[in-house]
């Protein structure tokens, strides 16, 4: 039953992807991208990855849709016709996709308990996280404590992204001062 639900959701995501590629109206594309993220979040819930699902729903479907819409507000609503025939890029993308699928054939089966990734540090996290950190949610324990360095790096990446956007858009604004700035 669960795999059926996931298969249906993945099929819907594939349909959305094709429509996004074909659609020229950018507003529709942005909304479809939001729908794609919601479908992905639902798949993640079905896979019991609630933390990731929550992030996907909040960031992918929520914030990025709003940001894309506000960017769209500054540009035209229709995508231009491509200058070249898209056959070569399509072939490259298809070949890459086939290669990736071929690569997954060598991976251990999904949720195989003997997979290498479940043999390394995962047992320690699952058995000792509650005793060592006192946090019942293993994801939070790993994210904030065991892998605190990684999360610090992640926060720095978000910080850098914010600084980059400020640097880019502020400069443009200075060239064309707007009365709204005076407040």
């Amino acid at each position: 039953m669960e795999s059926l639900i996931i298969a249906v959701l993945l099929a819907m995501m594939a349909v959305v992807t094709v429509v996004v590629a074909v659609q020229r109206n950018l507003f529709a594309v942005v909304i479809l991208a939001g729908i794609y993220s919601f479908l992905m979040a639902t798949v993640l819930v079905a896979l019991d990855a609630v933390d990731v699902a929550m992030t996907e729903a909040a960031v992918g479907a929520g914030i990025s849709t709003v940001l894309m819409l506000s960017a769209l507000y500054l540009s035209k609503g229709e995508e231009m016709k491509p200058l070249h025939r898209p056959l070569l890029p399509l072939a490259v993308a298809a070949a890459t996709g086939v290669a990736l699928v071929y690569g997954t054939l060598d991976l251990p089966a999904f949720s195989d308990p003997r997979a290498p990734i479940h043999q390394h540090v995962a047992p320690r996290y699952i058995h000792d996280a509650l005793r060592e950190t006192g946090v019942p949610n293993v994801v939070t324990a790993v994210l904030a404590s065991y892998r605190g360095y990684d999360t610090l790096g992640e926060t720095t990446v978000v910080f850098t992204a914010g600084i980059g956007v400020i640097a880019l858009l502020r400069r443009l604004r200075r060239l064309k001062p707007e009365p709204e700035d005076a407040r």
Partner: protein
């Protein structure tokens, strides 16, 4: 969108719950799904929602630019500060065990502050990006 009465009323009702939900996600992250990142995005979404309905100047009056820019840096500083606190108290960088007499309490304390740092930075960055994008079209938004 200032003329839509229904949107304005519903927004006013919802925003309080959105912020409350952000706090729930933040402080319940130890027990359920969630944490600083998700909570920061939800909190920013509440303010962005307010900005979309009531106009950018209204949002900027509630959360001014200066505060948002301070938040962007402050969150990372809090996070790194927890690490430095671990160093000062005799552990390694980002060692939480030394933050309290009981190692598990120290872990709790460390995780709490680290998540607060993530929340502040993420919320600040999301808000700032929205402000900048929306501000570039402000001559039309503000009508």
């Amino acid at each position: 969108m200032k003329d839509y009465l229904v949107l304005r009323v519903i927004a006013k009702l919802l925003i309080a719950f959105m912020l409350l939900f952000a706090l729930y996600v933040q402080f319940h992250g130890d027990f359920g799904p969630g944490g600083g990142f998700q909570a920061g995005v939800i909190a920013a979404a509440a303010i962005i929602f307010y900005g979309i309905i009531y106009g950018l100047p209204a949002a900027r009056a509630v959360v001014p630019d200066r505060l948002v820019e301070t938040m962007i840096a402050l969150g990372v500083l809090i996070y790194a500060g927890v690490g430095v606190a671990g160093l000062v108290l005799g552990g390694n960088f980002l060692d939480y065990f030394v933050l309290a007499h009981d190692p598990v309490h120290g872990q709790h304390r460390g995780i709490f502050w680290v998540e607060v740092g993530v929340l502040i930075t993420v919320a600040g960055v999301m808000l700032k990006i929205f402000y900048l994008f929306a501000g570039r079209a402000s001559h039309e938004v503000e009508r």
